[in-house]
């Protein structure tokens, strides 16, 4: 087996070629002598970071991000059983599509966060009121909100307003096409940050954990 740089590169290549067998072979811990958590942090996350950078530069397509995330998620589920204690100590997190009917962005971020060894509640589609109730009920600390339609993005303002009274410490991270098109929009809707992809979402999670 080559150096960890080579493995990351080979793993990224296999993911983008949708070669499930090769990805599985590369992560086989008998070959690389790493613990499951080390495999995630030293191979999977760096490969996802490289893929995320290429996406942001316009060199990769959404379908590649989705399909590679899907493969990663299955591999990681096999490595880290979600019911075991191998998943990380982490803030309580949720993800939802707000007032919208476009689920792919949420699915991709959900899959990438889980591929990095975190657990996150998937709320599917929620209205403003429904999402705020779930956040309170589940004691969510970080909520990821995905939108495709511009009016849905504006609805995040209402979530922020309601949370300001009921749970002011909840961090709101937004993403989706309107935020990619208008880099100031996330501030306008009162979010704490925006992410163009799962890697940016992971950076934010790690930042919160450090704090």
């Amino acid at each position: 087996m080559g150096s960890s740089k080579d493995i990351i590169y080979e793993f990224e290549k296999a993911l983008l070629s949708l070669d499930k067998i090769e990805t599985k072979r590369l992560l086989n811990n008998e070959n690389i002598n790493l613990t499951p958590n080390e495999i995630v942090s030293q191979i999977v996350v760096p490969a996802m970071e490289r893929i995320g950078e290429s996406w942001q530069e316009g060199n990769l397509a959404l379908s590649q991000i989705y399909m590679s995330g899907r493969i990663c998620e299955t591999l990681i589920d096999e490595l880290l059983d979600s019911s075991s204690n191998k998943r990380k100590n982490q803030p309580n997190m949720g993800i939802a599509v707000l007032d919208d009917f476009h689920f792919l962005g949420k699915r991709i971020i959900h899959s990438q966060i889980r591929s990095a060894g975190f657990e996150i509640k998937d709320y599917g589609r929620k209205t403003v009121e429904g999402l705020v109730s779930s956040i309170i009920e589940d004691k969510i600390e970080i909520i990821f909100i995905s939108t495709l339609m511009y009016p849905s993005a504006l609805s995040i303002k209402l979530v922020k307003e309601k949370l300001s009274d009921l749970a002011p410490n909840v961090k709101i991270i937004v993403g989706g096409a309107p935020f990619n098109m208008d880099k100031k929009l996330w501030k306008e809707v009162g979010a704490d940050a925006m992410g163009s992809d799962g890697v940016e979402a992971l950076k934010f999670i790690n930042q919160i954990i450090k704090e």
Binding site: A61, S63, M67, Y150, P151, M181, D182, E188
Partner: protein, 345 residues
């Protein structure tokens, strides 16, 4: 003073020559409802409303087309899916009509003639044709056979279909092509001057070029060749630069460009083969000041208008409902003032 009709202006630009001024396509859909004092749902319930709305909008802003586009899910509505309306934005498609991949084998495309959703759109085109007196291009719209499944079955299932079930994918494309060709030609027959072929899934923002060449590209070539009128491929905010040469081979005349790409580069890559349509940022437009609107129009004209082959519009193919009349008016007035040929530098 205008020295050309809108149609002459657009045709001259398409011929890669400079008309009297830069043509402007204000791709307004829901703003017609505001003009008529109606809810969006009521407005889109009749072809007559949308035709009236388009006539009023052109009278107000003096742009160079009638845009006979209702809403993205009109085609899936024709297949039997629900459309979900909201008060402040475009209607969305509801639950996908294809729940499981196997359902595709049982699907039958709808017949255009007599279909309630499509007939109201055709009625709108007929009314615009009666009022346009052949001086204003009427832009019809179809969702490409390749992009339609996002609404037919949901994006995630569609990506799985495309990657893992090639035979069923081909079957769905066959059904969609048959339907879309017949839908596009019904619009041409009703009086549409050209058809916008919305194909966001073909953008390299969504799929890599290698996959596009095997899928969306072949489908676009087959479909566009059967549409009895000129077409514009619009990738609805998605990137087009890496596939410009391929798009030029589909037989289309125009490409709608993304704000994510530089207009100078897009114009240069089109190299006279395609007319560039774009690319004002529709989302930022919602909070533009008048000065910002003027600057954006001037910047786009400076970058892409020289020599013709350019139509100014937003980058998505639909201006958001939240964009104010004042900003739309500023865009129109700046285009008239600053977009006169020969361009002042």
């Amino acid at each position: 003073m205008n020295t050309m009709t809108s149609l002459q202006r657009v045709l001259t630009a398409l011929g890669q020559k400079e008309p009297d001024r830069v043509p402007l396509f204000l791709l307004l859909t829901m703003h017609g409802a505001k003009e008529l004092g109606m809810s969006i749902k009521e407005y889109f319930s009749k072809g007559e409303n949308v035709a009236k709305g388009q006539l009023l909008l052109r009278e107000k802003y003096g742009n160079d087309c009638y845009y006979a586009f209702f809403y993205a899910p009109i085609e899936v509505e024709a297949w039997g899916a629900d459309v979900i309306y909201r008060e402040d934005g475009p209607p969305n498609s509801g639950e996908p009509l294809i729940k499981n991949i196997d359902d595709i084998l049982k699907l039958k495309p709808p017949v255009v003639k007599g279909n309630l959703a499509l007939e109201k759109n055709l009625e709108c085109i007929r009314l615009l044709k009666e009022n346009g007196a052949d001086e204003v291009p009427i832009i019809g719209v179809v969702m490409s056979p390749f992009s339609l499944p996002v609404m037919q079955m949901g994006f995630e299932k569609y990506l799985i279909l495309m990657h893992e079930h090639p035979e069923t994918f081909e079957h769905l494309m066959k059904l969609n092509e048959e339907f879309i060709v017949s839908w596009a030609n019904a619009q041409i027959e009703a009086g549409a001057t050209a058809i916008t072929y919305f194909d966001p899934v073909s953008s390299t923002s969504i799929i890599p070029r290698e996959l596009f060449l095997k899928t969306g590209f072949q489908i676009a070539k087959r479909t566009i060749s059967k549409i009895n009128g000129p077409t514009a491929i619009h990738l609805a905010s998605g990137r087009c630069l890496p596939i410009i040469d391929d798009l030029a081979q589909t037989g289309t005349a125009i490409v709608g460009t993304s704000v994510l790409e530089d207009l100078v580069e897009v114009k240069s890559q089109c190299n006279g083969r395609l007319t560039v349509l774009g690319n004002l940022n529709g989302i930022e437009m919602c909070r533009w000041t008048k000065r910002e609107a003027e600057n954006a129009v001037k910047d786009a004209i400076d970058k892409a208008a020289a020599g013709g082959g350019f139509i100014l519009s937003d980058n998505h193919g639909e201006i958001p409902y939240q964009v104010s009349d004042e900003i739309i008016m500023t865009i129109a007035e700046t285009t008239r003032k600053y977009g006169k040929y020969p361009l002042k530098r």
